[in-house]
């Protein structure tokens, strides 16, 4: 059960090439008030970012093992645990790899094909209480958890693409009538 977090502040999301995105984050003390506030800030920033289903501390410029996800309203979600905030997380079990094309707020103009396990069990600690939890999930929630854990370990999807021709320009589709539409 996720403890009640303080009010979060919306932070700027850093983009590659930013050094913070490429270094493994430090383990954190779940009871540290700064870490609890960081968790609240991650959630607040995720909530105001259109289409954002997850955010990790390095994406707001903090090299720490903390992230949040919420895939509950995504169409590809099967199992959903709603809002998840995890510290010092690690994968316990992973199976059934599938390739999918991913994008990331910190690499806004590119997408890449990445193989991820579609069934995982992840262990981590909750903020404030430090309670250790195990989350078993699948499909899109599993992909999102692995993507955010990678951020905590200093990895971008660019580090995991399936081949030399597996990175593409991101295509942002526009509605007819948009000022920029051709």
């Amino acid at each position: 059960m996720l403890p009640t977090l303080p009010e979060g502040r919306v932070l700027d999301v850093v983009r590659a090439p930013s050094h913070t995105l490429s270094v493994p984050g430090s383990l954190v003390d779940p009871a540290d008030p700064l870490i609890v506030q960081l968790c609240a800030d991650l959630v607040a920033t995720m909530r105001v970012s259109p289409g954002c289903v997850g955010l990790a501390a390095p994406q707001v410029g903090v090299s720490a093992q903390a992230f949040c996800i919420d895939v509950s309203s995504h169409p590809k979600t099967r199992t959903s645990h709603g809002l998840i905030v995890l510290l010092n997380a690690e994968i316990v079990e992973a199976s059934r790899n599938e390739r999918g094309r991913e994008g990331c707020m910190s690499v806004p103009d590119l997408t890449g094909d990445v193989k991820r396990a579609t069934k995982i069990t992840m262990a981590g600690q909750l903020p404030l209480s430090g309670e250790r939890v195990l989350i078993s999930t699948d499909a899109f929630e599993a992909r999102a958890l692995q993507h955010e854990l990678d951020h905590c370990n200093g990895l971008l999807f660019l580090d995991r693409v399936t081949g030399a021709h597996a990175v593409y320009p991101r295509k942002v589709y526009q509605q007819p009538g948009d000022p920029l539409a051709p």
């Binding site: 094309r101 991913e102 994008g103 021709h165 593409y168």
Partner: protein, 171 residues
Amino acid sequence: MTSLAITVVGHDRPGIIAQAAEVLSKCGMNLEDSSMTLLRGHFAMTLICAGEADAAQVEAALQPMVNGSLDVTVREVPEEPDVPPLGATYLVTVHGADRLGIVARLAGVIAEAGGNITDLTTRLSGTLYVLLAEVDIPRSADVEALQARLAQVSAELGVDCTMRLLENDQL
């Protein structure tokens, strides 16, 4: 600032990319987008670079690479504005026995529907022919009609064809 399109095609050997990139670096040309692969064992590289040198200077600098086994072309190209696609991207996959005209017929069907191929790979392996194409389809296009037409032409060609929506997961 000039943008140059450069192609290097020919017999593959270790060091071609290192040599070409070194020449461009010394000319002050920044290597931007590039694609390199082996096509039936032939080295094939296409790239866009930008800087202050002109096409003639860069072509002259690349001349030592042209040794009878490599062809190099350099030409100036205008800046191309990014045009966001209207519609959606599909992956078209085709496989079957090789025969003349598979790409021509299927690409023709896609073009007739207003589809724009943004990435294409074909491979011939023995008698098996494989085609993979990423296609931007305009919102106004009738996707089901295009799929039906591709199926019809594929049947005439004796190949199997699928066309599926390519989705990006923003995380």
